[in-house]
Symmetry: C2
Subunit: 353 residues, 2 copies
């Protein structure tokens, strides 16, 4: 069976066309059944493809003139989306010309354009941005929302849990993912009313959803490997993700300073390079690049604006995996199975269906 | 001039009386003008004091039988506070027997007991929990709220900024602290309405408050050293702080695994020990122990439940500094100078005073 194509916005990101194309070429080696739709300035894409004959052979170019800039407001981006590489990449997903789109451009614009063009899935009120975080165990953690929705109610959080669980089944292979809500304590009385309501709903629906709902967790446990999905509102999720990234950079900076502070330290550093390489591998955001907007009628993946080719390749690989595993269809099926009923607060009398 | 005493809840914390007393003794060496009121089980405090004649000479013991446990709900703790070491330590501050209290006990209980006994300062609606975070520059960052208030409005955030600035003047010596609000982007349109309102109020009142208000910041910049105070609601603040702590532990774990993975790495580790010691020093939460409840009529400092003696000493030293520098009086003066007027939304017509 031939898989749907992946549309790549070749113009987004701080690093330009070459990095996007090189990243796509690297990903194609790992996922060689995929074809690509490369969207952007044709002469520059063609030039970048010269070093990548395999990618060239499995790609089509869709020429566009416009580019959404990093500073553009979502509302402004929406108005001129049609002529831009980002807008056309999303449009290709809507039209069925591609199964998914990847962009390293402006996140707010990508969210707005994707939402308007693809619409949210039936049963989902708002899409969420999800990514994989490294843990000390041999599996990653799915975390969402990472910033698509600054404020969320209990119903949103439950929907995020369903979407996150579908992603975790793909990412970890675990059929009954361990789901937790991010809170500022693990006791049932902690946090906001929406969090407590969401916990009650998830507890009541865990069996229907084929998840193991383990209550609340705190942000210092994200790397523990004790769970597969962490659900939170977009504000806290964004804060947590950036705090993790910032601390990792902070530590890397300190290590660099320490290791270059004396000849002795430098020698020690060279000898212990395998150890520090392990650290670098774990902390390098390129190795965990690729956040996906879940809950839309189609897959849209955001690559970090500053990612290198290896990072872009990871974002494209995430896209390929989500497509291969039919994540969107799985979420639909989970929602249909629930029939929406269990998404209501358990203490509220259900209306007759 | 003799300084007011510091009341130490000798019974709180996971590590017991000995660690609290040893910590107080360490802090006394650095702040030898202070006297202490040691609250808790007298025989055990006396036994712990045997190794610390200097502390013994400058302390009085207040015997109590009861101890607030870590699992106790705040409402429950409030009811039996009177007979406990935590309750009596706070009561001593209220009665003027001590200028400040330090406890390593249950945070929720400490907050509830402190609020009821000491009340919030005039002009402050809610107290906030503030702590110092390490940065890559040679000064710490004051961050608040770290979990006292899960939900905050714009007015709360502005009050936190005033309290945080007073703390930063003490901690960094900078007369015009650089204050920012934590958000999920730096553009003016980002985040919640309360954050945008708080930003407008702080912008309008920055000169009156002797602060430099630099707008929004994101959680990956906390260690940058670009600011002196970061203000946020207690939910996000708690999430950010715990994400930082968790990531630091995660990295330390990875390093340990890496360095013990081969003989070569072990040798490299030993040679480069100064570098990893630097890292350990920066990441050890004991070196940044001591979070203060600001906004009460009196100073209450929370020491981490798991802190060692050096950690407790840091918490006591924080308390001593806040007392020496009259932080509570400074906050009062700032609030009086503002007269409450600038705490209203600038777009709202002011009522006649």
């Amino acid at each position: 069976m031939s898989l749907p194509r992946i549309a790549v916005d070749a113009m987004g990101g701080d690093e330009g066309v070459r990095v996007m194309i090189e990243g796509a070429a690297l990903a194609r080696r790992r996922h060689d059944r995929f074809k690509f739709l490369l969207v952007g300035d044709e002469p520059r894409i063609k030039a970048a493809l010269e070093n990548h004959p395999n990618l060239r052979a499995s790609s089509e170019i869709l020429h566009t003139e416009g580019v959404i800039s990093g500073e553009e407001k979502p509302s402004q981006a929406l108005r001129r989306a049609k002529g831009t590489s980002m807008g056309r990449a999303i449009e290709a997903v809507k039209a069925g010309d591609a199964g998914a789109a990847v962009s390293a451009g402006n996140t707010g614009a990508l969210m707005a354009i994707s939402k308007l063009a693809l619409r949210t899935m039936p049963g989902i009120d708002r899409p969420a941005l999800a990514a994989l975080l490294p843990t000390l165990e041999d599996h990653d953690l799915v975390m969402l929302d990472l910033g698509a929705n600054a404020e969320c109610d209990a119903r949103n959080l439950v929907q995020f849990a369903i979407m996150g669980a579908a992603y975790a089944r793909v990412a970890t292979g675990r059929e009954q993912p361990r789901v937790r809500l991010l809170n500022i304590g693990t006791e049932e009385t902690k946090g906001t009313e929406d969090l407590r309501d969401a916990a009650a709903m998830l507890k009541a629906s865990a069996a229907d959803l084929s998840i193991s709902f383990d209550g609340f967790t705190e942000a210092d446990k994200l790397g523990s490997g004790d769970m597969d999905v962490v659900v939170t509102d977009g504000f806290s999720g964004n804060v947590a993700l950036k705090a993790v990234e910032g601390t990792a950079r902070f530590v890397a900076d300190l290590l660099r300073r320490g290791f270059t502070s004396s000849l002795r330290s430098k020698i020690g550093f060279l000898i212990s390079k395998p150890a520090t390489e392990l650290l670098k591998h774990h902390l390098d955001p390129n190795n965990h690049n690729g956040a996906v907007f879940l809950g839309l009628n189609g897959i849209v993946v955001k690559s970090h604006g500053g990612a290198n080719a290896a990072g872009v390749a990871n974002a494209v690989a995430v896209t390929a995996r989500l497509l291969e595993e039919n994540v969107t269809e799985r979420i639909s099926a989970d929602l249909a199975r629930l029939g929406g009923a269990s998404l209501r607060k358990p203490r509220v009398q259900e209306e007759s269906a």
